[in-house]
Structure formats: C-alpha cells, structure tokens
C-alpha cells in the first residue's frame, strides 16, 4: 500500500471513481424523486429540490444521480470494448509479427486516418438510438491508441528470453499469451482502460451536446444539452447547467488521474 499512499494523485482518482460507482449502484435509494416524474417547471433550488427542477418539472438532482449510471455505464462499457479489441490486436500483431503485424498495423493506420467524431456522427445515424449504439459508435474509432501502445509493449515482451524459451519448449500459444504475456501487460491495460473511459465520457458529452446523444436516457451530456437548449445560461439558471459540467469534468479527471499516474507508478 505504500506506493498508493505516496501516489496521492492516483488515490484521489480512485476515490472519485469509487464515489461515482457507489452513487450509480445505489441511485434508486439516494435519489429523492423519480427523475421522469413531471412537476412544476423551472423551480429554484429549495429544500425539496436540491438542484431545482428542469423544463418538465423533473428534479434535476435525481436526474444527475441517474445520469451517473448512464455516463459511467457508457464510459466503462466502451472502455472494455476498446481495451479488449486493442489488446487482441496487439497480442496477435506483437506475438506473431510478420504478415499479421503488417495487416493489423495497416488496419490501425486506416482507423486512425478516419476522423473519429464525424464517423461517430455517421454511425449514430445508422444505429438505432440508445446507449448501446452510442457505445459502439464511440469505441469503433477509440481502440487505435490502445492497440498501438500495447503492440509495442507485446513486441518488447516477446523478445525477452523466457518467452523464446517457452516457444522452443513447444508450449501452446494461448498459454504463453495468457499466462505470460498478458500478466505483464496488466499495468498498461489498467492505465489504458482508465484513459479510454475518460475519453469515452468526453466524446459522449460532446455528442450529447451536439444533440446526438440518447434522448431516452438521462445522461449528464443530455441534461447539459437541454439546459443549453432552454437558454438556462441567459436566464441565469446556474443550478441547471453547472452541475453536469462539473460532474463530467470530475468524473473524467478521476479516470484520467488513475490512468496517468498509474503509468507513473510503473516506470
């Protein structure tokens, strides 16, 4: 534990993540109201409504709590996809090298060459609206960074003598990959996962801001979009547009701290 204590920043990140995960898990208990229940619109923050109500009279505080669930689910789920796809490609490219490596590198280059946000816009038009299609749209272009970094690390590991020995001993490839190579990647995988969660949440907030988010769900980006659409800025309804901005920044930073300082711990 000593490393963690010293690495204050990473600790802070972990605390933030833990806080949001807890809120997401116990959303139903914590939130005072059902976020989709209608009520008197545009109320100022008061005892009953901690953050006031939005244009439908729905309690913003409950919306924010449920928003954690969508934003977190979306961030983590797309991070899982991104890390999974990235590491599979990296393992194949790094371990086999040669033709496989060149093909995968070519695919990565192409995926990088395509501009990510417009492609996401395209995919969103394609897919049925909903959180899953948003996750898919976000992670389609986000895996390239992870793949590239993991690939160079896998190639490094595969040069190590003990891997070569394993090969000569005829140990089956999957065993080598998952017993020897993957554990070594644990550190990088963790940090890349954290970074891709923060990346995904940033993209989601961008998309919802452009009005392409999921209308049905209550994500932070969505709350911000409707706050902006209803001119809450000009009307000075700070309690409506500020909380989503702050929460998105804090959550994204939480994951970023874990990701960035996680790497620091390694070298």
């Amino acid at each position: 534990m000593t490393k963690l204590r010293h690495n204050k920043a990473m600790l802070a990140g972990l605390i933030i993540i833990a806080f949001f995960v807890l809120v997401a898990l116990f959303a139903d208990l914590i939130s005072p109201y059902d976020p989709s229940a209608l009520g008197v619109a545009y109320q100022k923050p008061s005892a009953e409504h901690l953050l006031g109500t939005n244009d439908l009279g729905q309690d913003i505080f409950s919306e924010m709590i449920y928003g954690v669930r969508v934003s977190l689910f979306l961030g983590i789920f797309s991070a899982l996809i991104v890390t999974f796809v990235g590491s599979v490609f990296a393992l194949i490219a790094g371990y086999y090298g040669g033709a496989a490596d060149r093909v995968i590198c070519a695919v990565t280059d192409i995926a990088m060459a395509v501009p990510s946000l417009p492609l996401t816009l395209l995919l969103i038009a394609y897919l049925k609206s909903g959180v899953f299609s948003l996750v898919l749209a976000i992670s389609i272009t986000a895996w390239t960074g992870t793949a590239r970094i993991l690939r160079s690390r896998v190639r490094q590991i595969c040069q190590l003598p003990y891997i070569k020995i394993e090969k000569t001993l005829g140990v089956r490839t999957p065993v080598i990959l998952f017993k020897h190579v993957l554990p070594n990647l644990k550190d990088i995988l963790l940090t890349r996962m954290a970074l891709s969660v923060s990346g995904a949440m940033m993209t989601e907030s961008g998309l919802s801001f452009l009005g392409l988010g999921t209308y049905g769900q209550k994500s932070w980006g969505n709350i911000l979009h409707f706050a902006f659409f209803r001119n809450s800025i000009l009307r000075g309804q700070v309690w409506w547009y500020l909380p989503p901005i702050i929460c998105i920044c804090i959550a994204v930073m939480g994951f970023m701290l874990v990701g960035y300082y996680g790497q620091q711990k390694k070298d």
Partner: protein
C-alpha cells in the same frame, strides 16, 4: 530559464497576431463581380477584404436639404433573423432571402395575406373573381421596373403564369386554361375548374410572383441557378451586396416599385445570427431593429429575460402554429372512441403547455384549431387534465388492471403498451420533451407506453411507420404557414383519388376527407368557414386528435428609432406592408 520564458511570451503574442491577420491577408480573393446585365451593378459577392460600396444607380437621394412634408424615411432598417444568408434565389424559399420574399421584399408578389388573413393585391392593383370562381380579372401597377433596369411588360405577366404552371408545375394552376391581356395593365385568367380562390389562397406565399422573361425563359433547373441574376425581381428593394462571412445582405430601395404607396424605407439590412440568444442580445444592444424568422417565434424561455427592457417591444401575439397529438385509430386500443376520450383527460396539458411555450402556453379546446386560425369555433369545450376522470372513464370502458401488474389491460385481456412517436425533425428537443410528458401522463393513469426510439433518429423509419399507421400516439407540429390548410391536413388517413402526397393520419372517415377538401377548395369564405366548423366538431366528438396548447408568439422589435410598426398575429412586424408604413422618429 527566466529569460527564455519572457522571450516566449513576447513571441507568443506577435505569432498569434501575425497568424491572425496573416490568415486575413494571404487569403483575400476578390472574385470578379459576374452578372449578365450591364445597366445596374449586379449584386457582388463581397470580397472578404471588405465591402466595396457599389456606385448607386440613380443620384443619391437628396438627403441634404430637408425632406418635403412627406413621412420621415427610415435610413437603414436592420432585420435580425436566424435563417442563413447563403443562397439568393427567388424561385425557392430557402434561407433568409427566400423567407423575406414572403413579405415581397425583392419580388413583385401578385397578392399578399393581410393581418386578418384576407387576400390583398400587391403587384396587382385590383382583382375580381367571377361568381362561378373560374375567372380572375386583375390590373397591375404600370411603371414597375426589374432591378436590372428593364421595365416589367405584359409579356412578363403572361410568361410568369405559364412558367408557374408548366415549369414549376404549381398544383393549383393545373386547370389554368387561358391567360389574356385585355388592355395595358389589365389581365384575365380563366380556369377549367373553380380554382381561382383555391390558387390564390394556397400559393399566396409560395413565390407566386412576376418572373422576368428575359432571365427565366428556358430555365428548367431553376433552383440551382446561383448567379446574381437569380436575385433580380421587381419588388420595392433590390439586393445590392451580401457578405457570407458576417452573414449580412443589404437591399436598397427601388422607388418605381411603390405598390402600396410611398416606400418609407431607404435601405434594408438582413443580418443573420447563429441562434436566438445572440440575436436577442444584439437587439438589446440596439444592433438590430426587428426580429423576423418565418414560423419560428422567439422561444418563451428566452423572452422573459428581455421583458421590461427599455425601447424593446416583445411583439406578443397569438400563434397560429401548434403541436398535435394523433391517436392510432386503425388498431386497438386507439380504435375505441371511449379509450380516446378517456386519454384526452389523462394528458398533463399544463406541463405540455409549459414545455412548448413556457408561462405563456394556455390549454387548448377540443377543436384542434387555434383562436388565430380562420374559422375558429369558440363554442367547443376546453380540454381538461383530470386523471381521476380519465381513470374512471377507462374503468367504465373496460380497461382494467386484470393481472395486477399495475398496468391496465384491454377489455379482451390483452396487454397494452402504447408506442409514442414524435415526428422526426432536425431539432427534436421540444418533441421528445412532449413525448416524455405524454408517456409520464399515461403511466400516471396506469396505461403502459414507451417512446419509439428508432423513429426519433431516422426519418425514413419515422415516415414509414406513420404512413403505415404503425403507431398508437403520434406527435406532429403544424407551422403557422400551414394555418390556411389547418392542422387537419396532418390528420388525413388517405387523400383524394389522383392526389399523391403524404398522409400521416390514421382516422379513416369519409366526413373528415370530404369536409377537409370542401374547406380547402371553398370558392368563398362562407364555404371555408362552414366546413372548418364541421371538422372542429367532428374532432370534438370523435377525439381522433387534439392540440396540446395554444401558444403565444413573440416577434420583438425596437421602438426607439422607428414608429408605426404593425405587429401581425403570429407573423411579426416584418410583413408586406412594413416597407410602406414604418417611419423614423
């Protein structure tokens, strides 16, 4: 290291400046002003380097010595709009230029619709419809000139009607058989059917104006003409210059085309803003005089931040546009009128009104039409939000919660899960909020329902579903422009034989179809009003659709420099009469 830091900050500043204006100077193309005609300088594509002031055609108006006893001219009327200043083509209705021509800014529209919705002559001086509604006699202003200096001739008039009928294929002119010129400035149109009234009413706003023969003859692909000649008309103002970067277009007066009397405005500037918020801020600072965007008043949530501002009139008036909720009447449970009548009590109208129009939205009546629409029948009862009544009516109609899961089942025991489809559009915010309101209201009385997410993001899927009547509740929007053909157009389940077009309704009834067509093709007001009243009562009894709320529209304008504004209902102060009535203070 300190020295390096200081050095970099200095460098940073000049780099930003250099790159900033560097970018400015290095890309400064000045396209040669094209234009087919010579006499007057065609509207120039504004070089980004600045607006060069073209030499005015006639001698500059004698502003030096005091104007004669006549009204004080407005030097420069600045109209703020949210439509873009990109395309300048009189044959279409796109962008600010197209929408301003609803008010006859640069085009000689034959007629215009006045404050009370009656047809008044504009380019025409007078008109007379024959009793059987098949012949239209009209006279027009002599002395009108095209903006390129050429006079408007009788040939132009004849060419205009032929062009509209044959090239633009305006539906209501399909039965026009004869176009005659009976004397100078006197013409007659003869139809094979009593379509005069129908043509005048449906196309008064759709570019039915004089077309220049020497420009448009032989041009079939008219909407893709992007040269300066596409902006030439014979209206009171001509396009002088436009600047795409600052989204501004400037129009100068053509005194000869004084259709409704002396033109009291010398110059009109149309300035477009990215959104309503920045427009209102600009108007508050006096940067623009009045707001005009076709059929989209300033959002209620924005207006109360400017209420009580000095010299700023909010331009309040009842709004003709409205949001409708259509029942899926071709399948259970929508086909049961009792279910529909019960649901009519379940919808949370106050919240819906607030969502659509903020504090200014009022509950509507059961007749679908707004008070500001021609033919509104005030005798019809109001819609009422009363969940208890709704529940008791549902119980009475046999919709009980038989399996105890909290949701009501149909009388035959089958489960109910209504699919709610807001109409697809590029801005879905209000409609999806209305969808949420409907869903929450229905669940409040125990009727399970959900928003059809697929239709929200895909126009093809949406159109396919509503055409196949694959919905239980559909939410649509009828713009104020459609107020003549009324929201009932959206509720038609099928069209007249031979008519092809969209039909989104699901209430198959002969009366609805007959009365609708009788109304829109009425040859006189009485027929129009009578059929409209019948439709409203049909809606009241059958409740196949309802209007969420009556809205108030806001078209704000400043009152410090200009007076004699005329704020038309759900249209605003910028209308066909503005150019002839407003005067400087």
């Amino acid at each position: 290291m300190k020295r390096i830091l200081a050095l970099t900050l200095a460098l940073l500043l000049c780099l930003a400046l250099f790159a900033g204006c560097g970018g400015e100077t290095k890309t400064n193309p000045t396209p040669a002003p094209g234009g087919t005609n010579t006499a007057a300088p065609a509207p120039t594509q504004q070089p980004s380097g600045g607006q060069e002031t073209p030499a005015p055609t006639q001698a500059p108006a004698p502003t030096a010595e005091p104007a004669p006893a006549g009204p004080k001219h407005v030097a420069n009327l600045i109209v703020g709009t949210t439509a873009a200043n990109n395309t300048f083509n009189m044959t279409g209705q796109k962008d600010a230029f197209g929408r301003m021509n609803y008010n006859g800014l640069t085009q000689g529209n034959f007629f215009y619709r006045d404050e009370n919705g009656d047809i008044q002559p504009y380019f025409c001086k007078s008109y007379e419809i024959s009793d059987d509604g098949t012949v239209l006699d009209f006279t027009w202003h002599e002395g009108a000139i095209w903006h390129d200096g050429q006079p408007v001739t009788a040939d132009d008039i004849v060419f205009s009607f032929e062009y509209m009928r044959d090239v633009k294929k305006v539906g209501s002119l399909s039965n026009l058989t004869k176009i005659e010129i009976l004397g100078d400035n006197v013409g007659r149109l003869t139809f094979s059917h009593p379509d005069v009234y129908y043509w005048m009413n449906t196309s008064v706003m759709n570019t039915s104006c004089v077309y220049a023969k020497h420009i448009w003859e032989g041009v079939t692909d008219y909407s893709n003409v992007t040269g300066p000649e596409a902006a030439i008309g014979c209206g009171p103002f001509k396009l002088v210059s436009y600047d795409l970067d600052s989204q501004t277009s400037v129009y100068e007066v053509v005194p000869e085309n004084d259709f409704l009397g002396e033109i009291t405005v010398d110059k009109v500037t149309v300035q477009s803003y990215a959104d309503q918020a920045s427009l209102m801020m600009a108007m508050a600072n006096g940067e623009c005089d009045a707001y005009y965007t076709y059929a989209s008043p300033i959002d209620a949530t924005l207006i109360d931040t400017f209420a009580g501002m000095p010299d700023l009139d909010l331009g309040e008036s009842p709004f003709a546009g409205s949001y409708q909720m259509l029942f899926g009447c071709s399948r259970a449970p929508g086909d049961d009128v009792n279910f529909r009548q019960a649901i009519a009590y379940a919808i949370d109208y106050p919240t819906a009104a607030a969502t659509i129009n903020g504090v200014y939205g009022q509950p509507a009546n059961r007749g679908v039409l707004n008070p500001s629409i021609k033919g509104f029948d005030g005798s019809i009862g109001m819609l009422e939000y009363n969940p208890e009544t709704a529940k008791s009516m549902l119980e009475a109609a046999g919709y009980k919660d038989t399996d105890g899961d909290g949701w009501r089942e149909a009388p035959d025991g089958s489960a109910i899960d209504l699919s709610v489809i807001p109409q697809y559009s590029s801005n879905m915010e209000v409609r999806s909020r209305l969808g949420e309101t409907v869903v929450a209201s229905l669940k409040g009385v125990g009727v399970n329902c959900h928003i059809d997410e697929e239709a929200i993001t895909n126009s093809e899927i949406w159109e396919d579903k509503v055409t196949k009547e694959d919905y239980d509740i559909s939410i649509t929007f009828c713009t104020s422009g459609m107020s003549y053909s009324t929201p009932f157009r959206y509720m038609l389940a099928e069209l007249r034989e031979g008519d092809s077009g969209w039909h989104w309704g699901s209430y198959h009834s002969q009366e609805l179809k007959d009365w609708y067509y009788a109304m829109t093709e009425a040859i006189n007001d009485e027929a129009y009003l009578e059929n409209s009243r019948k439709l409203q009562h049909l809606a009241d009894e059958e409740m196949f659709a309802l209007t969420f709320a009556w809205q108030t529209s806001f078209f704000p304008f400043r009152t410090d420099k200009i007076e004699n504004w005329g704020n038309w209902k759900s249209w605003g102060v910028i209308n066909s009469e503005t150019w002839f009535r407003i005067t400087a203070k």
